[in-house]
Each structure stands twice: as C-alpha cells, then as structure tokens.
Symmetry: C2
Subunit: 337 residues, 2 copies
C-alpha cells in the first residue's frame, strides 16, 4: 500500500517513529530502539533493512557507520505533511487550557502574543507585521499647541495614530490651521498609504503657504509606512540554549545572525501563495545559513483582516505538533476577537 511518497505503510511508520523519537531525545536512533518502542513484532534486522532503504531514499542520515539514524530535512518535511493532513492530532484542548490558566484575558494574549508563543512552545518566536497595502489614512488633523508649535495626528483605518510636533510656518493667512485641516483632509483622507507615498506631485497645485506643512505630513506618512513594514518582534532568543544542538557556539552565532537579520526573516516567511495558512520552511543543505533550522509561521487575522505573521524559529528537530497547535489556537483567539 503506497501513495505519492512511494513509501509503504511500514516505512512510514518507521519514519514517523524515528522523527518523533529524535524530536524528544536529540540522539541517533538505532534499529533496536525502534523495535522496542514502536515495533516489537518485527526483528531489528528487518528494521535495519528498511532503514537502509529509507537512507537510500534520502530520508535519513547516519552520523557514522556505527551510529543510529538521524532524520534529514526531507524526513522532517514528510513528518509535518503528515501532521498537517491529519488534523485530529492537534491537542487543542490541552493548549487551550494552558493558555487559559496562564493568561487572564484575551486582550493580554493579543498584546503579548509573541512572548506567549515563545513561552508556551519553548522556542524563539517571531511576530511580523504584514505589508501596509491595506492601510488607509482616515484623517489628518493639525492641532494648535502653543507659541508656533502644533501637533499633527494621522489616524489610519487600523486605529493607530502617528503624532509629531512641528513648528508652524510664519504666515499671515487667517485661520491658518482651519484651512490647513480642510486641505489636508481633502488631500489624504480615504487614500491608501501606498498611493500617497507614490504620488509626490499631489502638493504642487496647492498654495505655497502650505507647502512646508504638506511636506512634513507626507514625511510622517512615509516614515510610518517604513517603520511598520520593517517591524519584526523577536521574543525568547535565550530559548535556544535549551536545545543541545546549540551547545556549539557556531550554531548559536548562526542562529543569532539570522534572528537579527530582518531582511532574511522577511525573505523566509514571505508567502508566494496567498492561500496557505501555515508556512513551514525546513532549511536544506543548500542554504548554509539555514541548514538545520526550521521556521514555522502562521498568518493571523484580526477582525477578519490579515495583519501579520506569527511564528517560531528553531532547530529542525522541533516539536512541530506542539508548535502548530499553539499557533493554531492563538490564531483562533485572534480571529474570534
């Protein structure tokens, strides 16, 4: 009985057993260990010959000839596909109760989601804000403060507000502020950030007295967009020290350099296919930097709108079941908010 992977049921069982075991113990698994824990009714010799085949097929590696087998990237990929296609395995109830006992309100969970994911999964987590394509400016207001300074407020459709004090230009126009507010509203309100940023000539037609003000507002919008786009929050960097693969300083170094490299992270999590909910990248040998690393992330929505991605970075030997269930559960909390 085979499917598209070309693996017999027994080989699948062995492969899953092996990955499972490696995820918990981080040690090469011998044929005897598999027999004892998972398949007591066949001999080690049988398992050995299966292992040899699986190795030939690229699912397993052998650190050296007299060691047990270790899963390859390909094996991890098989393993997570397997989890994903059998949703029943998610232990939702348990995760839910952990979240419920540790965190009082949903509000708290939303605010600290990255931290919580890191805490509950015991891996380093990552919160990434989506592109700003869907953000629009609702209103722009200039508020008079005191002797020549004013406050500019920009209200966007996702509720956040950017403020900044500016110096008002000298002007003898009556009701300068009121007029400015009207102009600003007509120019910016209802527009998407991208539109605004890409249409520099918007201002030219206006009166000269407002040129400087418009310039400042435009810069604020650009700054806001840039800041939002590059925001990645990382939590629990220390967590990796819990895993023996990071007893080697070089691995730690490598890990830190990835985690601190915003561009790299963006590139990894970037989704080409808009429809997938979970993104699981398991590094291959090609990418030196990502070898032996895995990144699991999920899009999350808020009031139906997609706002970002939340995920976990760690060794390939990762507890995918747990990570996936946590991400899923948190995603649900967000969405039902």
């Amino acid at each position: 009985m085979k499917d598209k992977t070309g693996l017999s049921e027994r080989r699948k069982k062995i492969l899953n057993a092996l990955v499972d075991s490696y995820i918990t113990d981080a040690e090469p698994i011998s044929s005897a260990a598999i027999k004892d824990k998972y398949m007591p009714d066949v001999s080690t010799a049988t398992i050995r010959s299966e292992l040899a085949t699986l190795e030939e097929m690229g699912y397993l590696n052998q650190p050296h000839i007299s060691a047990g087998r270790v899963p390859s990237s390909k094996a991890y990929k098989f393993y997570v596909d397997n989890i994903l296609s059998s949703e029943a395995q998610f232990d939702e109830q348990e995760i839910k109760s952990v979240l419920a006992t540790k965190y009082a309100s949903i509000k708290e969970i939303v605010k600290d989601s990255a931290k919580i994911v890191s805490d509950v999964t015991n891996y380093t987590s990552m919160l990434m804000i989506s592109s700003t394509d869907n953000i629009t400016v609702n209103d722009v207001k200039v508020i008079d403060m005191y002797d020549g300074t004013a406050l500019v407020l920009i209200v966007t459709n996702n509720g956040s507000i950017k403020d900044k004090t500016i110096k008002l230009p000298e002007s003898n126009i009556a009701n300068y502020i009121e007029v400015a507010n009207g102009l600003l509203y007509r120019t910016f309100a209802g527009k998407r950030l991208v539109e605004i940023v890409h249409s520099h000539n918007v201002i030219d037609a206006q009166l000269k007295d407002f040129e400087q003000l418009f310039e400042q507002v435009l810069n604020m919008i650009i700054d806001y967009k840039n800041a939002r786009e590059s925001q990645i929050q990382i939590e629990g960097k220390d967590k990796i020290f819990n895993y023996p693969e990071y007893n080697d300083v070089n691995n730690v170094k490598n890990f830190m350099s990835i985690v601190n490299d915003q561009d790299k992270l963006h590139e990894i999590v970037k989704d080409k296919d808009g429809s997938i909910e979970f993104s699981i990248k398991i590094g291959t040998e090609d990418d030196e930097q990502l070898s032996d690393m895995a990144v699991v992330s999920a899009k999350y929505k808020f009031s139906g709108e997609e706002v970002g991605q939340l995920g976990v970075i760690g060794p390939q030997r990762m507890d995918y079941k747990k990570v996936l269930s946590v991400l899923k559960e948190i995603g649900n909390l967000f969405d039902n908010n």
Copy 2:
C-alpha cells in the same frame, strides 16, 4: 615612589603592560613577553619576582603553574583608574574623525547612538533612559475626534507626547470637553510625574461625570512613567562572538541572560553617586553572573539636562581606552547640541 595603591612605579608599569597586552591578545603573558615588549633592560627573573608579588597582592592570576599571568578584576580596576586620571590618553581626535566619516550629521548620531557605539567600539552597547524624576506634565488636552471618541494628549517637559483614543462617557454636561480640559489642566499641569502617580486621591473631589476620564488620564500617565523607566535599548548582541572568551556556550548563555534582564542592567548601572560621569563596573567573583564581565557607561545630557546612560557590555578584557574615548566623544556631541 609609592602612592595609595602601594605599588612601586615598576610594578605599575608591569601591571599596565600586562593588562594592555592581555586586552589585545587574550592570552596569558609570560615574563619573557613583558621583557621583550615593554622592559628590555631588566631580566625575566626580575620581572618574575615582581609578578609573584603582584599575584600575592591579588592583581594577577595564574591559570596553571606553567602558564603566564592573567589580570584579575583588581588589575582591571587599577588599569581604568589609571586611564581616568590621565585624560591625555584619550585619542579624541581619532574617534572624532571616525564618527565624522561614518555618520553624516549629528542628528543621525543622536538617533542611533546605541548602534553607533556598538559599531565603533565593537562591543554590545546599551542605551538606558534616566529615571523620570524630573519629568513634569506641561499640558493635558482632550480633543474631540468623531462620534464619541476623543484623543487624549499629554505633553511633558521633555517634549514627548503620549496619545491615546478613548471613548467619551455619556454625559449631558454642556461643553463637556472644554470643562474637562480646564479641570485636567488645573489638576495635572506643572506637576511632576512622581507626584501625580503617588497621589491617587486627587480626583475624588471632582465631579462624578469626569471621574472616568480622570481615571483614564491617570492610567496613561502611570503607563508612560513605567514604560519610560524600563526602556533599555541593546545593540550589537552579536559583537561578543568576536571575542574568544565567548567560544564557550555557557559564557554566551550567561551574557545573553544578563543582556535580556532589564532589572539586572538597571541595578548594575544605577548610580548612587550623582556626580560621577563614567560608571565602570568590573564584575567580581562574588557575583556569579557578572564574573568576567564589565559594564562601562556614561551619563549623557541633552541641552544641559541629564536624560540617560549610554554604555557598553563585554568581557573584563575590554579595550577600556577606546570605549571611554568613544563614550566621551559622543557625550560631547550630545551636550553641544
């Protein structure tokens, strides 16, 4: 010729030479090495006997009997005192020119100061905002936005503004907002944050209709104070991988745990004596966590007002001369702004 350290000039010279050498090479120094590089006119035997005395006095350690000597915490302390008391050694001109060529404007330097310090010194850096004791509230304003929501602005004397949208309570008071603004101004303007936070009963005497609003404003002030107090920005965590003492994962782990522990950092840098400009903490053996670590930090002022501390965290074997000059130079830039 001795001073309060009780060290002869020759011993001082040897001690300085030894620390200097260890700072660059990170290797135990032998009597022969000192002779060659610093004191060719005495024999190694002489130096050896001096080394033995210095070790007895607690300035030096010997990893094992047939190795050279390594500076102790006490030696580092002696070394930095020495630097501090002879300002001439600062290589200000060089630092200045590095800063000038790498960073275009002073504005840029101020904004990214932590990053710059880390870049130029090649150590992990730390930017810490001072206590909020001197911050006062200049003004509080409620601004009507749209259907029942309003924006609260709190302006402080250091220019920053905290804003938040709130829901206005149902009320049939005419000119609710105007009245509220008056009340808020009279209650909060000119007061120091500490005062406000510690006098919860301020509101009770007021009209009931404003109770909720006052509550919200008070919470904003409390949040602001807390947020400001706990802000520590760390830059260049990876830098430590450049130093051989961090080839041991345990040291890395230890380092990371300190760097991520805001409370610990506060405690380390906290100044008891308000008059010192530089704070140099060289960990002793007592504090397990801080052994073999040093933290150098400087207060920095902005327009004459002290606003925070900027510093560097690294191994005790730190290039104190360089670090101190960089911090000093940046401090000057701030102050002359």
